[in-house]
């Protein structure tokens, strides 16, 4: 993957202050805007991006239905946000690190996590957070904004160790920008000038609290100015624009020009179509027709039109893609549902060497299971 023409990415002064209209490459129909440049991605990459966005959407639908059937626990849907997730994932190089939230299923997948691994924690399997070798993705961050200073620290560490070709990217929501950790993380990144890219997936809502009630700032990108770093707004439903902006930010993080600072705060403006999680009911706090305007700019439809217009996508290829996606999903669900976990594993990896006291506790649990059987543990409250 190569980067976009540098000239197209030079921020104008409004962008630099983070208050410009979100950058777009595709219009709402998926037509390339007259003043925009399509990122220099191969046809294969463009189609693969589309396929991943579609896979993400199908994954989301499947996960929600698995949750409704009681087969997985609470799930955080991403429909509407797949474009930004997939695009930031494509912008990363394999050696770059990703620090995702509980909603970044697609970004994790694109950066190397397999589908089954995404489902494992949802099935309650602790080993689900284990990261496959050679995949530079941290386990998802659930306490809000906690990944932000860690991303700065990791980037600093890589830089100190001379890994100048590695950047660290973390995602978070608009709500996260209210936490102290967000401000501390960006401030450190600015002060130490480390290769971090902060991507705010501004989906307009933090559970029930709208963006306007989260911060009195006009935009989220403009907060970057307070830390002396660059802030950029991009249409989060436009995968090509998100790709271009993220790619440029990663390049700059690794190799800034003379007067440039490495870190960037990207505000990807988008919308959460569905519930915050499967435990949430958005009808208590927002008008559902609000979603309709955003759906008109849907990332999947836009990419589909873009590719069809370019002659890269037809019904046959679409059918092929659909079939591949369904097979992958079915295999992932089956493999995870076949997995079991031994209760003794809760004692694993708490320390390097299990202290004596924990060995005793593990032995106690084992002897109770032997004596009473596993069913006795699952008797619930009346």
């Amino acid at each position: 993957m190569s980067t976009q023409n540098e000239a197209d990415q030079q921020p104008d002064s409004a962008t630099a202050h983070g208050t410009a209209d979100p950058l777009q490459i595709l219009d709402a129909d998926g037509t390339v805007l007259s003043n925009a440049t399509v990122p220099d991605l191969s046809d294969g990459d463009l189609i693969a991006m589309y396929e991943d966005i579609k896979l993400a959407r199908r994954f989301d639908q499947r996960a929600i239905s698995l949750q409704r059937q009681g087969r997985i626990a609470t799930y955080a849907p991403m429909t509407g946000q797949e474009g930004a997730q997939v695009a930031t994932g494509y912008a990363l190089a394999a050696q770059d690190w990703l620090l995702p939230t509980y909603r970044e299923h697609a970004a994790k997948y694109v950066h190397g996590m397999d589908l089954a691994s995404l489902l494992k924690p949802l099935c309650g399997l602790r080993e689900g957070y284990a990261i496959p070798d050679d995949v530079n993705v941290m386990p998802e961050y659930i306490p809000i904004a906690t990944q932000v200073p860690q991303a700065t620290g990791m980037a600093w560490g890589k830089q100190r160790q001379g890994e100048t070709d590695t950047a660290v990217l973390c995602h978070f929501g608009d709500g996260a920008t209210s936490e102290g950790d967000f401000h501390e993380g960006l401030n450190f990144a600015g002060v130490f000038d480390v290769p971090t890219v902060f991507v705010c997936n501004n989906n307009q809502w933090a559970i029930s609290v709208p963006r306007e009630h989260q911060t009195a700032s006009e935009t989220i990108a403009q907060k970057a100015a307070a830390y002396g770093i660059e802030g950029v707004r991009v249409d989060g439903l436009d995968p090509l624009a998100v790709y271009a902006v993220t790619r440029a930010a990663l390049q700059k993080a690794k190799n800034p020009a003379d007067d440039e600072r490495r870190p960037t705060l990207i505000e990807a403006v988008q919308y959460r179509y569905g519930a915050h999680t499967t435990a949430d009911d958005p009808s208590t706090y927002r008008e559902e027709d609000e979603a309709e305007d955003w759906r008109e700019k849907d990332p999947l439809d836009r990419m589909q039109n873009f590719l069809t217009n370019r002659g890269l996508l037809d019904d046959d290829l679409e059918a092929e893609i659909d079939e591949r996606i369904e097979t992958q999903l079915t295999e992932a669900v089956e493999s995870v549902e076949a997995a079991t976990t031994d209760p003794a594993t809760m004692f694993d990896h708490v320390y390097d060497v299990l202290p004596a006291r924990l060995r005793e506790q593990r032995a106690e649990l084992e002897s109770l299971r032997e004596k009473y059987g596993d069913d006795a543990f699952h008797e619930v409250l009346e």
Binding site: I144, S178, V209, E379
Partner: protein
């Protein structure tokens, strides 16, 4: 600034007075308590993430916005230190903030405000400034929640002088203890057992009663052994007590501490003097959990009554596992029964 206003004393409900009742589960009782106290005292306000429009992710504050308006029921930005810090400031102006932390596992960003400031404003200022506020947070496991949503770290707060820590286990107590907490002149951390939120209903008086803080409740009288517990663990403990009564003829006394700080040492010791045997049940990890404090207190105060080692049935010293294994982590009736039998057969 005065440290106490005339209407802040806790009026225990006179059990002789007839009062209307309504059947409620624990979360409804919390809501009812907030409603009752907000209607009575207009300085009471509720603030936190998603508490207003959404009525709280567990619906504990549902309907309050409609009744009391957006100035008293406030959705805050997503920032726990901000929520608790501003609540401290509000409390120092004689407002009565009831701050919600969405889950206890997300209390840590606010921990500094709680322990460095809320807890010691009274002593630092030699009584001149006080922080009469309540911080509510759902805690505990057993509901298949995601990571960080199931912890029970009450000991962190109990360790801090100046904070009160309250954990109800029933709807009627949840209401009475929450009202008393709001009226209390000190900062109170009010932990709600989410496993019990909707587990059962009971009749709850509808008047504005306060259940005094600092008093344990004897949930079941018995003579052979005392089990000390609180919050969600009261219920498997009562099941275990019935089981060992049926199967082994063991007569268990169950003490529900209700207030963890200050601890009701008198009830703890009296019960131990009666039974001579103690089992402490909590879902928090065993090491440095509150069980250790209770065992040490019994040793100090009633050693000569002791007839068996004091034992603890607790969570293991591991991070709370994801839901596939949480039944193995939490003390279930099974493990509590084992603990009781061991104490009695010593």
């Amino acid at each position: 600034m005065s440290s106490k206003s005339p209407d802040e004393s806790t009026t225990p409900r006179d059990s002789q007075t007839e009062s209307a009742t309504e059947t409620m589960n624990l979360v409804e009782a919390v809501r009812h308590a907030l409603h009752t106290e907000m209607a009575r005292n207009e300085r009471v306000m509720v603030l936190g993430e998603d508490v207003a429009e959404n009525g709280g992710v567990f619906r504990a504050t549902a309907g309050l916005l409609e009744s009391f308006g957006g100035e008293r029921v406030v959705d805050t930005p997503l920032a726990e230190s901000g929520i608790v810090g501003t609540a401290i400031g509000l409390a120092m102006t004689e407002m009565r903030p009831v701050a919600e932390l969405q889950f206890m596992g997300f209390a840590y960003p606010a921990f500094d405000q709680l322990v460095s400031h809320a807890a010691r404003m009274r002593s630092r200022s030699h009584g001149q400034y006080t922080v009469p506020m309540v911080v509510r947070a759902p805690y505990g496991g057993g509901i298949r929640a995601p990571e960080h949503h199931s912890e029970s770290k009450e000991a962190f707060f109990v360790h801090e002088p100046g904070l009160k820590v309250v954990v109800p286990s029933t709807p009627a107590d949840a209401k009475g203890l929450l009202i008393a907490s709001i009226r209390d002149p000190d900062p109170v951390v009010f932990l709600e057992p989410k496993l019990v939120y909707r587990a059962f209903r009971e009749d709850v008086p509808t008047d504005a009663y306060g259940t005094p803080l600092g008093e344990a409740s004897i949930r079941r009288e018995g003579s052979d052994v005392t089990v000390y517990t609180w919050g969600a663990m009261v219920h498997p403990t009562l099941i275990a007590a019935d089981n060992v009564a049926d199967e082994d003829g063991i007569d268990v006394e169950v003490v529900d501490l209700r207030t963890l700080s200050p601890l009701d040492v008198e009830t703890v010791v009296d019960s131990f003097e009666k039974t001579g045997r103690a089992v402490i049940v909590h879902e928090a990890p065993k090491t440095a959990g509150l069980g250790a404090e209770i065992a040490a207190t019994i040793q100090e105060e009633a050693l000569l009554h002791q007839e068996a080692p004091i034992s603890r049935v607790a969570g293991y010293d591991v991070p709370m596992p994801l839901h596939e294994l949480e039944d193995y982590y939490l003390p279930q009736a099974l493990r509590i029964q084992e603990g009781i039998r061991e104490a009695v057969s010593f």
